[in-house]
């Protein structure tokens, strides 16, 4: 053998030959390339660790794993890449082949898997809605209690232990009694010494609701300690539970009456169970595979043989037991001799004592020694305000009774007129107002004349102009109160009075109070303001130019106010047009400044005043204002207007003469020809020219 063989040749040899180095014994079978269990040397970088399920596992140091180091990248140059990583640049994750989903088991070692297997049970969820378990309630309530509970044995327990106490026993001297086997006392058995029964602690449950004392509330389906699943408990069991002073749901136990026609449902083994009762009493199998049912806890020392022995407890005995009042006090002992344990809760009995224990009956014919005095009770109670109402005294009489000096002032009612008092009474709805005296204060007393004057001063005033206008309007046709002639007359009289035409006021009609009359006059005044002609009101604001000097010069009469503005002096050109005298009469010419662009578009040489030869300023001045829509009156526009008006005036003065002189001759048709002088050609008949203008082309052809 020269030198070392290469690895490849060595391996090839291994597989080809049957273990060439074996001299004695049976050689191992030739190497299977896939299986390497012959203990042959494999270099580290070729080793692979796989678990029982053939998975490559790169962790789990406790089960013989190793780190995913250099070698376990298995030679790949890229190094370790998470298998789940797919570059999303080119191929999207969703497009690519599905990578094997990793299960939790892949990451669990044997122990974990074993645990998991053990834990595999089909079970309904805890708060299965269909059954409405309240199992969790107790857990929830006890959560904080558990937090603060002393864990382990307390010193007291240790001491008791040392004294021979065992858990589940009561404290005290041993008791001689018969052995109780599964809750039934065997009469035949002998007496033994037993440890006293354990008494449970009274736990005071904090009342943290707002319900009344002794209120049970809606009874829950399960008791505080009761568990939903295994709630078929014996009496003892219940008593084993911690006693609570909190209201406990009372379990209804129906007493069944056997009789004819008991159905199958009633014929079940257990008499206590109501087949129709659902809820906590129903014990479904909620666990598959596990223990079917927890064994009933066995209290006391129990013979395991007896456990399985069927015991018949007749209904009668059970009833008798319940009825006999073998109920124990909360400490587990029977009540003292001669006492019966109250069936009513202490607290509730206190509350209900009023109803339960009726007050002692008063013997017949009993009379109290304390007699109420007669008389005081007779007078009906009268409140102060009622008394005050009943009294018929007024302040003055009270003052006199009391001996007070009369007050110097007077009441308002003393000065009121009876009418005013009535008005107040009507408005306030009180009839018992003091009578109105209608006194007149000293300083205000008036003579008849003065009163008249004052009355007249109250008559509303209308200024003369308005009254005139209203009157004139009335004269011209319209006057209010058309339906009431008398009223209209009064209105007219009032207006005349106000206008100063007549000195007399309109007569006060009979059976009309002064106040009503004044009211009417006020109405007239308003009416006059409204119904005076428009011109009266508006003419003061608007003046037409034609009537303005008139108004200033002479007194305006009503007709002039209503007059229309004078018709515009008719344009002589329009007059001429109406007469059919078309021609120079109806024609006017003035300068116009076409824009250069317009001329360009028409391919026309711009007129001289728009020529580019003109100065820049001129051009702007000429084009500017005409170019765009005129929104302001520029200076040039103003000038134009002035010039135009001046021209018009001049022409207006000049033309009328012309019209008379020239026009009759001019009526003859005027024909225009560019080549000829219009003035010279005016009189010529237009036949030939017509021909030239309107002649048919086809005729010419």
């Amino acid at each position: 053998m020269s030198g070392k063989r290469s690895r490849a040749t060595y391996e090839a040899d291994l597989q080809a030959q049957q273990s060439p180095f074996v001299t004695f014994g049976t050689p191992l079978p030739p190497l299977d390339p896939d299986v390497r269990d012959d203990g042959s040397y494999v270099p580290v970088w070729k080793q692979e660790v796989r678990d029982e399920r053939g998975l490559k596992r790169l962790h789990g140091a406790f089960t013989g794993g190793f780190s995913a180091g250099y070698y376990n990248t298995v030679g790949s140059k890229e190094g370790w890449t998470p298998s789940t990583f797919v570059s999303s640049r080119t191929n999207r994750k969703k497009d690519g082949p599905k990578t094997a989903q990793q299960r939790p088991e892949d990451f669990m070692d044997e122990e974990d898997i074993a645990d998991a297997e053990e834990g595999r049970r089909v079970e309904t969820t805890q708060g299965f809605a269909g059954l409405g378990s309240t199992e969790d309630d107790a857990v929830r309530r006890g959560a904080f209690i558990d937090l603060f509970r002393v864990d382990g044995e307390t010193v007291g327990v240790k001491l008791l232990r040392k004294m021979g106490w065992k858990e589940g026993q009561g404290i005290g001297p041993k008791v001689r009694r018969k052995a109780r086997l599964d809750g039934v006392e065997d009469n035949a058995a002998e007496m033994h010494l037993f440890a006293p029964e354990d008494t449970s602690m009274i736990s005071f449950v904090k009342k943290n609701d707002h319900k009344g004392l002794g209120f049970d509330g809606e009874t829950k389906l399960s008791s505080l300690q009761g568990t939903g699943s295994d709630d078929v408990k014996s009496e003892d069991e219940e008593e084993d539970g911690r006693l609570s002073l909190a209201p406990k749901p009372t379990k209804k136990k129906k007493v069944k009456v056997g009789g004819i026609g008991i159905g199958i449902l009633n014929d079940t083994g257990s008499d206590d169970e109501d087949p129709y009762e659902i809820g906590p009493r129903i014990s479904y199998n909620r666990v598959i595979g596990g223990d079917k049912k927890k064994k009933k806890p066995i209290s006391g020392a129990v013979n395991p043989l007896l456990k399985s022995k069927p015991i018949f407890i007749s209904k009668k005995t059970a009833m008798a037991k319940a009825a006999a009042g073998f109920r124990k006090c909360h400490d587990g002992r029977l009540p003292l001799d001669g006492f019966i344990l109250s069936s009513i809760d202490e607290f509730s009995s206190v509350l209900q004592s009023a109803t339960n224990y009726a007050p002692p009956k008063i013997p017949e014919g009993w009379k109290s020694s304390k007699q109420p005095r007669a008389g005081t009770q007779q007078a009906a109670f009268l409140s102060t305000s009622d008394a005050a109402k009943a009294s018929k005294l007024d302040p003055k009489s009270r003052a006199s009774i009391l001996g007070e000096a009369a007050l110097p002032g007077k009441s308002v009612f003393d000065f009121l007129s009876p009418a005013a008092r009535n008005k107040i009474a009507a408005a306030s709805g009180k009839d018992n107002l003091p009578a109105a005296l209608g006194e007149v204060p000293e300083g205000y007393s008036m003579t008849e004349e003065e009163r008249q004057k004052e009355f007249l001063s109250q008559i509303p005033k209308v200024d003369k102009y308005t009254a005139d206008a209203a009157l004139s309007r009335g004269a011209s046709g319209f006057m209010p109160y058309g339906e009431d002639e008398a009223k209209r007359n009064r209105y007219r009289a009032y207006l005349e009075n106000q206008a100063g035409i007549s000195p007399t006021l309109p007569e006060k009609p009979p059976r009309v109070s002064r106040i009503d009359w004044l009211k009417e006059l006020k109405e007239f005044a308003n009416c006059a303001q409204i119904f005076k002609p428009m011109s009266g009101m508006m003419a003061t604001r608007f003046t037409s130019s034609s009537t303005a000097p008139k108004l200033a010069s002479d007194a305006p009469d009503s007709s002039s106010l209503l007059s229309k503005p004078a018709p515009k002096p008719e344009d002589p050109a329009e007059q001429a047009a109406k007469l059919g005298m078309y021609g120079p009469m109806t024609r006017s010419t003035k300068d116009w400044y076409p824009t250069r662009l317009l001329c360009k578009r028409f391919n026309v040489k711009p007129p001289a005043h728009v020529q580019p030869g003109a100065t820049e300023h001129d051009e702007e001045a000429s084009i500017g204002p005409k170019n765009s829509a005129p929104d302001l009156v520029s200076k040039s526009a103003l000038d134009d207007m002035m010039k135009e008006s001046f021209d018009q005036q001049n022409r207006g003065r000049a033309t009328p003469v012309e019209v008379e002189v020239e026009k009759p001759k001019e009526v003859a048709v005027v024909v225009v020809d560019k080549e000829r002088n219009e003035a010279l050609e005016g009189k010529r008949a237009g036949e030939a020219v017509f021909k030239a203008i309107f002649g048919d082309d086809s005729d010419d052809d």
Binding site: A629, I693, F694
Partner: protein, 348 residues
């Protein structure tokens, strides 16, 4: 040459009165109508009317109605066709002048906006060299001149001499350089570009129609005093006035036109009753009535029996617009009015 008084065909389709009517330029093959139903219709009157086809399997014949141009939001009051027949312009209640492409039926330009008219536009006409301008006269008493070639929306010029609504505008041949504007204030204003002058001719009554003679020396002016006048441009005198017994024009904008090489003056009549309308034809030179042509109206009863004024509507077919083929030279003419039917007349 006899007056072509034979009705050739009726062009239907308008859903309201036809306000504008024009032949296309030079060959005048087509008729454009602008209606109060907000659309412009292009007809070929030489095609047979569509209703005559009896065989349903026969290939579809070309119909008279070729194209409908819809972009206006209001009634169309005037139309003008460019000389090359490639574009035409329309105007109406929506305060802008629309420039249309004939073939695509799309608007190329819309002249309006801030600098545009502030009221409905009564009349529009092409003007200038190569139809580079559009002149529009509006109810806002102004004439605006628009540059078709330039891109900006500003009018080239605003002529605001009119004291009332401008009802009609007219442009001369481009070298002549005259723009006429007839207004409701009873005046025709002739703007002379060469002289830089504006001549105002007082007509007295509101001007509703302007037509010029081909040589440009006379202008046919229709006014609301039941008279059409041929005015002399040079002196402003009235060359001839056209009136007729039983012919009235006092409320409608009735357009008149020359016909038959300016041999006739044609105008619709307001004084009509019932379904049929009437067109009165005068001899241009003599001024006497040559023909009274009855235009058959639609027999369809209108839905509205009561007018806006609450009175019962009297059915009347007023021929408000007439157009002569080839700008007065052809032998065909058409007219339309309140019942929306365009009737084409030709030589018998």
């Amino acid at each position: 040459m006899e007056f072509p008084s034979k009705p050739l065909t009726q062009l239907l389709g308008s859903n309201g009165p036809v306000h504008a009517l024009t032949y296309s330029s030079s060959p005048s093959t087509y008729i454009l109508t602008g209606s109060s139903d907000r659309s412009i219709r292009l007809y070929n009157p030489s095609h047979p009317s569509s209703s005559s086809s009896s065989n349903p399997l026969a290939p579809p014949k070309p119909t008279q109605l070729i194209q409908t141009y819809t972009a206006h939001g209001y009634e169309i009051l005037s139309l003008t066709v460019s000389a090359d027949n490639a574009t035409f312009a329309s105007c109406g209640g929506d305060r802008s002048v629309f420039l249309w492409d004939v073939t695509t039926a799309q608007t190329l330009r819309r002249f309006g906006g801030n600098q545009g008219h502030t009221a409905r536009i009564n009349d529009v006409t092409f003007a200038g060299e190569n139809n580079s301008l559009l002149i529009s006269g509006s109810f806002d008493a102004s004439v605006r001149i628009w540059d078709v070639k330039a891109g900006n929306m500003k009018p080239v010029m605003v002529l605001d001499e009119a004291r009332d609504s401008v009802s009609c505008v007219l442009a001369s041949e481009s070298e002549e350089g005259v723009i006429w504007a007839g207004s409701t204030d009873g005046r025709v204003r002739a703007y002379d570009l060469r002289m830089g002058r504006v001549r105002t001719d007082v007509l007295g009554a509101p001007v509703t129609s302007l037509q010029r003679t081909r040589d440009g020396k006379g202008v046919l002016v229709g006014t609301l005093d039941s008279c059409v006048r041929l005015m002399d441009r040079g002196s402003g005198g009235c060359l001839r006035s056209y009136k007729a017994e039983g012919w009235r024009n006092e409320e409608f904008r009735v357009r008149s036109c020359f016909g038959g090489n300016e041999r006739w003056v044609v105008c619709g009549n307001e004084e009509v009753k019932g379904d049929d309308g009437e067109v009165v034809v005068w001899d241009t030179l003599m001024g006497d009535v040559v023909e009274r042509i009855t235009v058959e109206g639609s027999k369809v009863e209108g839905k509205k029996k009561i007018g806006r004024d609450g009175k019962e509507k009297e059915k009347r077919n007023v021929i408000s617009c007439v157009a002569w083929k080839e700008n007065g030279r052809g032998d065909q003419w058409c007219c339309a009015g309140t019942d929306g039917i365009v009737t084409v007349f030709g030589p018998p």
